[in-house]
């Protein structure tokens, strides 16, 4: 059902590096989970028109005014400096990332 190439493809889509020695381990465990969830095939869902409706009658979309009020838009967010200090690499007040385009 799942081969090693598919495992590597999924890992790439997930931006997760996996070693050659790990491919088989992930292949086997992904396959066993997918085999387990395959039992959903036997459920008739032809009456269900849409997946919307999980929420009951009491759940409604929560709307708010689209205002520029800083607190309601962003919450009680901390200082910029605190957040910047969390970044692994910064330069001149910016978060630094690796080069994307080759010269």
């Amino acid at each position: 059902m799942i081969d090693n190439d598919l495992v590597k493809h999924i890992a790439g889509l997930s931006r997760i590096g996996i070693g050659e020695d790990e491919v088989e381990k992930f292949r086997a465990s992904l396959e066993s989970v997918l085999e387990y969830v395959d039992k959903l095939k036997e459920v008739d869902v032809s009456e269900i028109k849409s997946e919307v409706g999980i929420a009951g009658a009491s759940f409604k979309n929560g709307f708010r005014e689209n205002s520029s009020d800083k607190e309601s838009a962003l919450g009680a967010h901390p200082d910029r400096a605190i957040l910047m200090n969390m970044a692994p690499k910064t330069r001149n007040g910016y978060i630094e990332v690796d080069q994307i385009l080759n010269k």
Binding site: I10, G12, S14, I16, Y36, P78, P88
Partner: protein
Amino acid sequence: MSLINDTQKKIKDREVSARDAVKEYLNVIKEKDSEIHAYLDINEEEAMMQADSVDSKVDNGEDIGLLGGVTIAVKDNILARGFKCTAGSKMLENYRAPYDATVIRKLREAGAIILGKTNLDEFAMGSSTENSAYGPTKNPCDLSRVPGGSSGGSAAAVAAGMCALSLGSDTGGSIRQPAAFCGTVGFKPTYGAVSRYGLIAMASSLDQIGPIGASVDDVKAVFNVIRGKDKLDATSFDMDFRSDKESAKRFEDPISELSEKIKDLRVGVPKEYFGKGIDDKVKEAVERAIKKYEENGVKVEEVSLPHTEYGLAVYYIIMPSEVSANLARYDGIRYGQRAKADSLFDTYEETRRYGFGEEVRRRIMLGTHTLSSGYYDAYYLKAQKVRVLIKQDFVNVFSKVDVIMTPATPSVPFKFGDKSKDPVLMYLSDVFTVGASLAGLPAITLPCDWVKEGGSELPISFQIIGREGGDFEILEIAKLYENL
């Protein structure tokens, strides 16, 4: 029995100072936690400062708040200023919470004292805490057994007397299952009843914060403080729409007699929760607990939730799908660890390869697959539709009964290593808790028996599931059990 009432009375009557009360808990932690490993981070100084502020309020004759002097431990996926927040992952090893989650703000405002942060399966993914990057937590009832998970540290801390109460998060059973394994009370509120602002997201259509405590009164008191609409969490709402409900009123009335309270109460017992895969000991203990209600005049009837057997399969499609989206944020750019690599793509891959443990990587990959082009309809869309059927099952049953009673777990706590090699076997630990999660319903687990096994006493718990917004109803019905 209520630890909160006892503590508060003693502090208000000046039998003990908040400072001494906190010191006592810190002493228990020093004595026991090197063995149990429930805590990942403790802040003594901060706890003492909070205690002193409670004591000075007592001195000045001021109100100490609903939770004044009450010690609380917090699962390490909920942000609390002054503490690290690792989510049990290497990815966030040095991450310090830059702000308080809404639940933490509310607890502090009510006078609660945050003692520390508790261990969990990495990013709340697991049923045993064996997936924590910082080593497993041990079950205080038997150190060779798991405390359950993912809120294993929170449940163990309460069970070992290392805090009065704790907060956990529940996505498919992560509050209720560990609470059951440690012989404590665990409560998952209705989806949206408690704000999740400041909770590290796992699966957003399922995640819910809730309390773990030694008694129903205690978890109820904490729930009362943390619940309510929060403008910082658009999925949160106020429960007040239920206050006019007759049954809720009946249970909230403190003077009505027990017999009056349970008159007309109808309990449904779903036959699908007592079939194969459940330990005989667990089954018998839970049946005895339900019998106790019946002997006291409660009407008990068998009901059917026909799609129960598909719950776990639905869960293991929807949850990883949401996980794959939510955990995309851990890219090593804005916070957390960043691996050194030659290109940005490689930086992502290497950061996530070394930052995430095996189970987290498996679930992200699983969810990426079930959402990917060509597989979406067969997996994700199908699972969402079956989820609607599961929800409808509950709606149908709640037109006949007030609450549903089931076992909390299929077995007593298992030993370390017993299930960690086989993901599907581990996933089956949540078979009785995922239903309420998928349907967004409130549910509580509480101990109903203890069995001897290999020289230790192990707890068995049952679960009460309520209708949407029926949080107080199930809390009161659970409280009745303590008095039967």
